[in-house]
Subunit: 465 residues, 2 copies
């Protein structure tokens, strides 16, 4: 790095970030190698290792950093408040989704690989590359560059890294309550969302909520031979298929009583904004081998994925799934299903209505086990947030194109937790791409997302300081 | 064994069978230890080992025995024709069903265990104990006892043991065609069916046919994040549930066009016979944790399981089935389903109709893979068969109670193959019990089935000679 006495702190930090890139990538790979799958108890030690690794990195950067135990995976909490000014709290999560089906990965999901991309970019391929290890490191590496270039950060920074975002964030609420004095800041920054497109950065204004439920239906006390019992014995897979098939009509509407209470039509202002956005429905679907929107009739794809609620079957298990054939009537069947929620839909009420719906359709001899895995409301970020304009401007400068205000189909329940428990608003700034294969085999993050993500945060820190 | 000069050959053979029992059990255990799962290619060597073991046993008993290769698992074919008279061809199968869910077995499925039964009997617990290793050995051990007691068998005996009965018997037809001169006999004897109840033996007069089909539906080119794509992307599990749920109405009737063509009402003669049989519907269902018949409204349980066709879902696989939760829209879903057929229902036409039914309901962007695993017509044994009466009488003598003429819900496609390709009728004589957990964890065979099964065949050999 050449230190130019006439450079501004911002320019120095940007130059330092670029000079750091190889080292940043090595650190990124170290974190990707840790198998921090939060939803599977087999990976508990790995989650703790990821937390310790991150706390170590932050301590190196002058943060007062610690690993905080919870009832589940630990939190990482760190503060660097040597400067005065706007206090920002950055949130990310170090846990990742399970990797199956493992057979569809082209390389070991926990041995990151660089792969050349068609557009000249480079892909960093590994589980968590995008969601959320790569994204959270853009902020950490921005802090590193700023500190190494200028000695100290330009404003007070706190960092909270969760280890259970992919597992329902069960311990987050109690943790926020218990540490609210420590966490209270002027604004929350979150890096867990997508860019508008490869060239256009975005701040996400709305995120859907989520009800995630597992239902298990048990009939006979053991698996039965379909020759001996077939015709007289209840088949729980048949019961499951019938119950799940009945939840959605041919127009894609969800047939649960009261489901659409709290769902409002998109404000015309947002609708017009989205219509102007350069979004190609066909290309969006084509990219994953599809061509026809499968959601509610008469809605645009952006509405379907950002502004409308859904019902999805995320998994069904039951009976024989091995090679060949087995004429079994299984004793039990289970399904993991989820609803994405928008507006004021109440996840608790929807879970209850769904449970009642299932119970009402259970025939004789069927027992139900109903487990709620996650439950969160939709989020809307106010356009009145005073930090929105400078952040948007910083992004626009880095990417040299006007940043977008977009919607998002996924759920980041923590946003509501910050608002409801600590009264803090959040800005969702992310550098992931639509084609990152988040939650899928061969997840990737673009090297340009990583490099320009780091540079974007440096500009945002400068803009907010 | 005390050799009594005044005993008949039959009495000598029966005494010899009882004296042999411990040795017979050891041989049974040796066969049970061989993991001959035909449907899974991983067990190919085990299937061959089972075939070689059986051919070795039969050679020991003076049979001209050999292992005959096929396109799949080998056949065992053996002849002992030193006597004149009625030539019988015995058929059994040495292959077994897969063992999953393995966690529900109380002991290793391939390490047979003796367990005391509540009724004072003893259970032999292992995969294949009943279906069909125990059953086929009753005949082999009957031949052993007769030969050891009397020097030679009382009539010409051929034995055909298949290794793919649980995998669709794909190579059986060609094998029968190729060896018809060798196989042609006066009557086929099959031991793969149930007793009427613990005390009452039975000859099974009708067996249902089977269409076994696997359908795979593929939508997107990869698994998708339900937050990013949910609402716009087609979910193949939802398509699968909808297609399968639509096949059966609330009265249990199957909604496939033309499905009931060839299904006739039960002849009143058989209906009356079955009504007289000591069958307790409630006890039959209670035994496996059920209480209400789930089949067609207005039919008795015996009709539902023996005389009516069915549709069953034998397995569904798709999406995330591990611990916790994963908000995925899977790229594909698959299901194994089967129809049990009766009367003159045509399995080939039903497979075609089913395929058309599925294709007609596939929405845009869904590709179908449709695999027929098995296809067999129902079987009816003629009551005019001249070997029926002496066989019934031999069973009645051994069990000291009148043997029953029953129906059976399972499928033994080989019966039709013998009839259609070789013009031979078969008698289905079996010693399995309803509660043998065939195809399920903890499969068992009763020691009394094994002992009295051997003795029954000795009496049948005498009666037919």
């Amino acid at each position: 790095m050449t230190d130019n006495a006439t450079s501004s702190p911002l320019e120095k930090a940007l130059a330092r970030a670029d000079a750091n890139l190889d080292g940043s990538l090595e650190r990124f790979f170290d974190l990707l190698r840790i198998k921090s799958i939060s939803t599977d108890p087999a990976y508990k030690d790995d989650c703790e290792a990821a937390a310790r690794w991150l706390a170590g990195q932050l301590a190196e950067l002058g943060f007062d950093a610690s690993v905080r135990p919870t009832g589940g995976q630990p939190m990482v909490l760190a503060h660097e408040k040597s400067a005065a000014g706007t206090h920002v709290l950055f949130y990310g999560h170090y846990d990742v989704q399970p990797v199956d089906p493992l057979g569809e990965w082209n390389s070991d999901p926990f041995e990151p690989k660089l792969a050349p991309a068609e557009n000249g970019d480079t892909h960093i391929v590994a589980r968590g590359a995008s969601d959320d290890k790569g994204q959270l490191l853009t902020f950490v590496e921005a802090c590193r560059a700023w500190r190494e270039a200028n000695g100290a950060l330009p404003l007070p920074v706190s960092i909270l890294l969760e280890g259970e975002e992919e597992a329902g964030s069960r311990n987050l609420g109690p943790f926020l309550d218990a540490t609210q004095d420590e966490l209270k800041a002027d604004v929350v920054l979150v890096c867990d969302t997508d860019m508008w497109d490869d060239q256009t950065p975005a701040i996400t204004l709305m995120m859907r909520g989520l009800c995630g439920v597992e239902i298990e239906i048990e009939a006979a006390s053991r698996d039965l031979h379909s020759g001996v019992y077939g015709g007289a014995a209840r088949n729980p897979l048949q019961v499951m298929a019938t119950i799940l098939a009945g939840l959605r009509d041919t127009d894609g509407r969800i047939l649960l009583e009261g489901f659409y209470e709290g769902v409002e039509e998109l404000p015309s202002q947002i609708k017009e904004l989205w219509e102007r956005l350069p979004f190609d429905e066909e290309a969006f679907l084509n990219k994953v081998g599809l061509s026809v929107p499968a959601g509610e009739t008469g809605r645009s794809v952006l509405e379907q994925i950002w502004a409308r609620p859904t019902f999805e079957i995320n998994g069904i298990t039951g009976g024989y799934g091995g090679e060949g054939f087995k004429t079994v009537i299984p004793a039990r069947a289970s399904a993991k299903v989820s609803f994405r929620l928008v507006g004021q839909q109440d996840p608790v009420r929807i879970c209850e209505t769904f449970r009642a719906y299932v119970e009402a359709r259970l025939p004789a001899d069927c027992a139900l086990r109903f487990t709620v895995h996650s439950s969160s409301r939709a989020t809307t970020v106010s356009t009145q947030n005073p930090y929105l304009a400078p952040t948007l401007e910083a992004l626009t400068q880095e990417w040299e194109t006007e940043a977008a205000l977009s919607g998002g189909g996924g759920s980041i329940p923590v946003i509501n937790e910050f608002k409801n428990r600590l009264g803090m608003d959040a800005l969702l700034v992310g550098f992931a791409r639509f084609d990152n294969r988040v939650h899928s085999p061969n997840e990737k993050y673009d090297l340009s997302s990583y490099r320009k993500g780091i540079r974007s945060w440096i500009r945002i820190l400068a803009a907010l300081s």
